[in-house]
């Protein structure tokens, strides 16, 4: 008998992605690539003022145009679509998908056109005349809190969406606050760092804009909706509810999705409107977002002010932290809007032993595009506030920023660690990550290089940041959607394996990583494994991809479903081979009795037997398919250390990032190649925020950064070559030991780059500079102004 070549173990290997052959040949199918017979195109007419009362809309000319199928005003849409729901337990004003009488941000939809093609639909939208009586607009969040000059939603006095949520030491679950510990901590302080910091507004900017195809079939009474979404099952839930359909009557499909970064979690007005219009007209319709439209219609990220006070002893021992947070959430609550800043509160403890913490959170409406999740979603904000304060403390105490952090780390023996801000960290070894980063960056040498450059009159600085984030979301108690993920694994009759996952990827490479796991588990070639996702008609249940949860939660569900099927297959094999199932090994495309390779039966032969089981082993059902719902008992808490070196041109103020070292600990890694890609992408976004990206509004609420000509998306020339390394501290939360990595890069990079800029400007006595590092702002500091 010929010996087949041994199959290598794949988990932990840099396996090339299985998604790529179609994508590098232009054969992926994104939403805008879908064309259905009879499909018409939808274009939204949007408000060009930030706040006002709609006096009149004239759609006559548009409706009369050749090729126009229908025109809907907000009042028309309100007849077929209830107000949009949110996904958090916070109070929320009524939010109509298309404004009925009042517009509250520039870009809010006011009418909808359905036409033969996108050109005709655009012409028709242009032919609609809208008369709006302007109201005062408010874009400054602290101005908005005064209730002047306008209150955006009548039931929310002073524009307070969430008046005040306390968190930290001495806060009970029912919201009672005991300040004695935090007051005592600050009373003992030998040094207090106090700084207002702005973590500004960003446009997520997936390169694929959003898109929807909705197809209601009146004969069947069912709806199919394709959308560029991160979570088709959540989409199905909401589309069904708002269209008066059951979840069994709606099929939601996320085809190839061209990036999400958190902004494709929300269920949007355009998705609801397209589904309702398709149902009303009985025809398939498509909407595809223009980029200019995306800047106003897709949720923004971050936009939170932190008033941070950090109390310490002069030897650097931390005593207490106060963080007063004011979040600018824009004009409406969206799916997760109100919950995002609560994650900033939750992660205020960072990587340190801080005896007392007090956070407060206020969320405020302004006349801007609503905010929601953006890569990192609440955790980069916490990291930024704490790590910038730590940097300021190190500067004040003339301590090395690394040593200040080391002095205060939560120690390995303290895990699981219940933080002062309500998290239970699963595992960690922060000094290990710090030490590796210092070694990788050659920290002492870097300091000498910096000092040598300064001696030449150059403005060069170093920045260092630790981070810990919350990933693998999470128990159902923490997620209104449910905190589990689902998988179904089937060994088909021919011995090939198909598996479904509710983790719906948009670039994460789950088709590869999950197949690596199953190939190892069953001892079969990876080519024999297919991972199916993104279609509620195929994937029975799911939550979706956000909060760096695909691997930790979705991957574990795959593993557990695979284990069930493998156990059953072992029973069939044992019956066929007259062996004990405990003695069987699955390897090399066979199932064999341990130590007796001649006993090996082809994997496919056992599979075939399971589907035509003659004889049927006693007590067994035919077939090889099973599912798992995996609900973790806790989140996971990856961590790391980022170090940067940055130079500022003394003449122009232009900053250049010279070096970025990132050491990340995401627990066990399934595919280090994919993990590196995730970290690179996160770093680019974190650095982008620090250095060049910023959403800017005029005082009257006009978006000034409404296209890629005005909003600086990072390009290849904006970055040095990133230098990565990793420590591995597995999580005990799941059997894979994997923590998650999708957002990590955005956490440490932003504060470490800003700290490097402050360090570069230290000769000017600067303690803090707000992002982004606009050359003009830095130039003013150099010219003697203070930031």
């Amino acid at each position: 008998m010929a010996t087949a070549p041994m199959l290598p173990k794949l988990v932990g290997q840099r396996v090339k992605r299985r998604e790529d052959p179609r994508l590098i040949q232009g054969r992926g199918t994104y939403v805008d690539d879908i064309a259905l017979v009879g499909m018409q195109h939808v274009v939204f007419k949007r408000s060009d003022v930030a706040h006002g009362r709609i006096r009149a809309i004239d759609t006559t000319a548009a409706a009369a145009m050749d090729g126009v199928e229908a025109v809907f005003t907000g009042a028309d849409i309100a007849k077929i679509l209830p107000p949009m729901p949110i996904g958090t337990p916070f109070p929320s004003p009524e939010h109509r998908a298309v404004a009925v009488d009042t517009v509250r941000f520039g870009g809010e939809p006011v009418a909808v056109v359905v036409a033969r093609d996108r050109y005709v639909a655009r012409d028709a939208a242009d032919a609609i005349t809208v008369e709006i009586d302007p109201l005062p607009a408010v874009v400054d969040v602290e101005q908005a809190m005064t209730g002047k000059p306008t209150v955006i939603h009548p039931d929310f006095a002073n524009n307070l969406a969430v008046a005040l949520v306390p968190g930290g030491t001495g806060v009970t679950p029912d919201g009672k606050v005991d300040d004695s510990a935090i007051d005592a901590a600050f009373a003992k302080a030998e040094v207090v760092i106090s700084q207002r910091m702005v973590n500004h507004r960003l446009a997520p900017s997936a390169i694929e804009p959003r898109g929807v195809v909705a197809h209601y079939e009146p004969g069947k009474g069912t709806m199919t909706i394709w959308s560029s979404t991160q979570n088709p099952h959540i989409l199905r839930t909401f589309i069904a509810a708002l269209n008066g359909l059951g979840q069994d009557q709606v099929r939601a499909i996320a085809p190839e999705v061209g990036g999400g970064f958190g902004a494709k979690i929300n269920i949007y007005a355009e998705e609801y409107v397209c589904s309702a219009i398709s149902k009303a007209l009985g025809i398939p319709v498509k909407w595809n977002e223009d980029r200019t439209e995306a800047f106003v219609a897709t949720t923004h990220g971050r936009d939170i002010i932190g008033y941070v006070d950090l109390a310490a002893k002069r030897d650097g021992t931390l005593l207490g932290l106060k963080m007063r947070l004011i979040a600018d959430i824009g004009a409406y609550n969206m799916l997760l809007t109100a919950a995002i800043p609560t994650l900033t509160q939750m992660m205020a403890n960072a990587t340190y032993n801080i005896p007392a913490i007090r956070t407060t959170l206020t969320e405020v409406f302004t006349n801007k595009t609503p905010t929601d999740a953006y890569r990192g979603a609440g955790r980069p904000e916490a990291t930024y506030f704490v790590e910038r304060a730590m940097d300021m403390l190190a500067r004040e105490l003339k301590m090395d920023p690394a040593e200040l952090r080391r002095k205060n780390f939560i120690q390995p023996h303290q895990f699981p660690f219940a933080t002062q801000s309500g998290a239970v960290y699963d595992s960690g070894d922060y000094a290990k990550a710090l030490d590796l980063a210092l070694k990788k960056a050659n920290w002492e040498q870097l300091k000498r290089e910096r000092d040598a450059a300064r001696a030449e009159g150059r403005l060069v600085g170093l920045g260092l940041s630790m981070y810990v984030e919350v990933c693998g979301l999470g128990p159902s108690a923490a997620l209104p959607t449910g905190g589990w993920e689902h998988a179904q694994v089937t060994v088909e009759r021919d011995g090939r394996i198909s598996a479904t996952t509710g983790a719906s990827p948009h670039g994460q490479g789950n088709e590869t990583t999950f197949a690596q796991m199953l190939a190892d588990q069953f001892g079969v070639p990876i080519e024999h494994v297919t991972i199916l996702h993104g279609d509620t008609g195929v994937v029975k249940q799911g939550i979706g991809t956000f909060g760096s949860r695909s691997q930790a939660v979705g991957g574990t569900a795959i593993h557990l479903a695979g284990s069930k099927v493998k156990a059953k297959m072992g029973k069939f094999a044992a019956a066929m081979m007259e062996a004990s199932e405990e003695d069987l090994v699955f390897e090399n495309g066979t199932i064999a009795v341990k130590g007796a390779p001649a006993s090996a039966k082809p994997f496919a032969a056992i599979a075939a037997y399971a589907y035509v089981p003659v004889p049927l082993p006693p007590g067994m059902e035919p077939g090889l398919s099973d599912e798992a719902f995996w609900e973790p008992a806790n989140n996971t808490y990856p961590f790391g250390c980022h170090i940067s070196m940055l130079e500022i041109d003394r003449q122009t103020g232009e900053p250049t990032l010279l070096k970025l070292v990132a050491v990340d600990d995401a627990g066990n890694l399934i595919n280090p190649l994919i993990v590196e890609g995730q970290i690179h992408g996160g770093l680019a976004q974190g650095i982008g925020q620090a250095m060049i990206e910023e959403v800017v509004y005029s005082e009257d609420g006009q978006l000034l950064t409404g296209s890629f000509m005005d909003y600086a998306l990072p390009r290849a020339i904006d970055f040095p070559r990133f230098e990565l390394d990793a420590t591995v501290t597995p999580t005990p939360v799941n059997p894979l030991g994997a923590k998650g990595v999708g957002e990590a890069g955005t956490l440490g990079s932003t504060p470490c780059v800003v700290s490097a800029a402050v360090d570069a400007l230290s000769e000017f006595g600067v303690k803090h500079v707000d992002m982004m590092l606009r050359p003009e702002k830095l130039w003013r500091v150099i010219q003697g102004g203070r930031s």
Binding site: D20, L23, I24, Q25, A35, G259, G507, G677, F708
Partner: protein
């Protein structure tokens, strides 16, 4: 309407189009070559990059009528005889893509870049793709992919 005739991926195509029809939309919707993507409306992102008479061009900023008589290569026309183009191979090998949306335009730009400069420095590569946005990769693996293709010194069309 205007009559145009052009060659796309080696195939002669004739069509009657609106003068305002963008080349990107002609390729995507009339020829159903949907590998060419549209990611912005201001010629920044480069997802729509194709080769026109061998030079890279952003097809969202060219009317189809302006391409009358031209020879166009899209991402679908890059692999020949069932064999991936060296840059396609390189993007796969070096994990030069995640969501894949910018990838066709990025690869077409890289094809033109290596045709002009077969052995670019890292700086030249980063400058060469500065007209193409990628939000997923941070560009490092894309740079690696172009270096990989360059070092293979395969004949680059």
């Amino acid at each position: 309407m205007a009559k145009i005739a052009l060659t796309v991926n080696g195939k002669r195509r004739a069509a009657d189009v609106e003068p305002r029809l963008l080349l990107a939309h002609f390729l995507r919707e009339h020829l159903r070559l949907t590998g060419t993507h549209v990611g912005c409306d201001t010629t920044q992102c480069g997802a729509c990059t194709v080769l026109i008479d061998g030079r890279s061009a952003k097809s969202c900023t060219i009317f189809a009528v302006q391409a009358d008589g031209a020879e166009i290569t899209t991402i679908e026309g890059l692999a020949a005889d069932g064999k991936l183009h060296p840059l396609q191979e390189a993007f796969w090998q070096e994990h030069g893509l995640q969501c894949g949306f910018c990838t066709p335009g990025m690869i077409m730009t890289a094809v033109a870049l290596l045709a002009q400069n077969p052995a670019p420095s890292e700086r030249e590569i980063r400058e060469g793709i500065a007209g193409n946005f990628c939000r997923c990769t941070g560009y490092q693996h894309i740079v690696n992919a172009i270096q990989y293709a360059s070092s293979k010194s395969a004949p680059v069309r």
